[in-house]
Amino acid sequence: MIGHSRHPTHRGAKTGSPRLLRVVLPVLATVAIVAPLGWLWQASRVPAVYSVMEMGYLDYGGGAVSNPGGGGHGGHMEGHGPGHDMAPSRLVTDMVADPARPADVRVELVTRQQMLSVGGQSVPGFTVNGTSPGPEIRARQGQLVEVQLRNESVTDGVTLHWHGVDVPNAMDGVAGVTQDAVPVGGSFTYRFVAEQVGSYWYHSHQVSNPQVAGGLLGSLVVTPRAGIAQQVDVSAVAHTYGGVRTINGNAEDLRVPARPAQRVRVRVSNTDNGPMKIWTTGSYRLLAVDGTEVHQPTEVTGRSVTLTAGARADLEVKAPSDGAAVRVQLSKATAVIIGPPGADTAVPPQPADELDLLSYGTPAALGFDPAQATRQFDYRIGRRPGFVKGRPGMWWSINGHLYPNVPMYVVREGDVAVVHIDNRSGEVHPMHLHGHHVVVLARNGVAATGSPWWVDSLNVLADQTYDIAFVADNPGIWMDHCHNLKHAAQGMIAHLMYDGVDTPYRIAGPADNQPE
């Protein structure tokens, strides 16, 4: 035990000040590490109740700045009250379809929380009118659609968002922004005029990450007044329940009877959180992207279509004249099989190349001039360590900021806005702007040369940049978020607001609104 007397603790007693240092320095070093972490943690916490209008900072994109006191941002939550010298502000609840106009299509949707039977498995989920997906809503262009939502048993509450339909803001179905979540026993009536032809879908935007994954969704189709050119029209809603791939809720392939030489329009919706590849036996034409018709689509062979999360693609395939079948593969796992009953064909190999929508189809007028843009925004996506809502992790950032300190993009009605999206986060993001359709101007700096490529859900790969443009023609407060809803729940949510518009709704609060 000789060594024991030479124990290093013995040495500290030589003089007073080194000893003090030996005690103080480690404490200081500890504080130097823990204090910034504590500060970051504290700063990342969100209030128990807050308005999206208070989130982050205003980004005017180089355009006109708000009237002081207008809009209600940054603690001016009571700004729409009387006594303020400012432009009269409007509420999201003012943005509705003509209340006097009777409905042409009337649907009642009842939501329940229950077990689902999928591919022989029982998984917890949600139904709309007893099924998942819920009933498909079909309307003709120009019809007024009225949907009464009744929440029978979804304990977290529900809403319905009309994904891809540029509805009036009050009908957008975002809990805590455009309405309160509908509690068990409650109801809400959505009314909008189906002006846009195409394939859309509806889903809950309350606790949307688990609710959409659990199947609280359905298809919405708006057909042109003159009808469509194809003889067969079928919807294929792709969804994954508890790891089981399905089409229209069935784990089996979807069989679509078609006579030889008939043309079939297949409306594919990707309701999952990641991009999906679609390819066919033989050739196809891509008729529409996110509801909007492609201008002069040509026949495509040996290329797949990438359908990002939340996006839709309308494909035209022809049943072979010899009575054989064709397959439309929705990934390798599931397929739409088209042909005479009982006919099938081998799974076509997955093409190595994909159809590039930047050059597909032929150009047409956009209806506005992006070169005359009055707002220029940046939407830079990154990923960095930090705290969000008090939780540590590797979080998605928008223009370098973590939720809720993200930009609030501000426009005025009539503005033309261009957005530069730059994904430096290392992963793909399906970017979704509510209430507007955006047109792709360029990808990685290469200008679009094909048909106007209008989207509401855009697949932005790692290290890609996109330049997109839209016309600010639908006043309100609109989410601009990642439709990988898990990412949205992790804070990948910004908003687009129109100057002078405010919301009476709050995130959290008595209705427990949680749009992600």
Binding site: P8, V27, V34, T240, N273, E427, D463
Partner: protein
């Protein structure tokens, strides 16, 4: 504090082993599942990561790898660094700092691998470096603490002056 230091350093090394174990377990499960006709794409992957609907049971290995690597290991390494300030052994802070730096680098390289798969290869190599370093950091403390033990000769050489 020395005991805490030792335990934490060894814990980091053990966690690196766990990370390797669960990852290969997960990949093996994936291989078997694909062999049986399973299809893994982004939709299935995101579903499994998000709501826990696991396509095959070994997917849990990938989840554990993520949670461990993002939260548990950095936390242990951070606590080790703080503990090292109070461990009066020469080099304790240095080696704890090296372990911490390697852990931070390991996480960043791992995420980089999502974009550049070659970074994933580096992630595997750096894991070995981290394992060795953490193990050494714990071991040299044992040597430094040895005065309390019988081997007094070794103790005197290792005792800082």
């Amino acid at each position: 504090m020395r005991t805490a230091y030792k335990v934490l350093a060894y814990l980091v090394a053990a966690e690196v082993a766990v990370q390797a174990i669960v990852m290969v377990w997960g990949i093996a499960g994936l291989g078997k599942w694909v062999d049986g006709g399973g299809v893994l794409d982004k939709a299935v992957f995101e579903e499994a990561m998000g709501s826990g609907g696991m396509p095959f049971p070994e997917f849990a290995g990938l989840l554990v790898h993520g949670i461990n690597g993002m939260f548990v290991v950095p936390l242990i390494a951070l606590v080790l660094l703080i503990v090292s300030f109070f461990t009066k052994v020469r080099g304790a802070i240095k080696w704890a700092a090296i372990v911490f730096a390697l852990v931070v680098a390991q996480g960043q390289i791992g995420f980089l691998g999502h974009e550049f798969p070659l970074a994933g290869a580096l992630h595997g190599l750096n894991a070995l470096v981290l394992f060795g370093t953490a193990f050494y950091a714990g071991r040299r403390l044992r040597a430094a603490a040895a005065p309390a033990a019988v081997e007094h000769e070794q103790a005197s050489t290792a005792t800082p002056v």
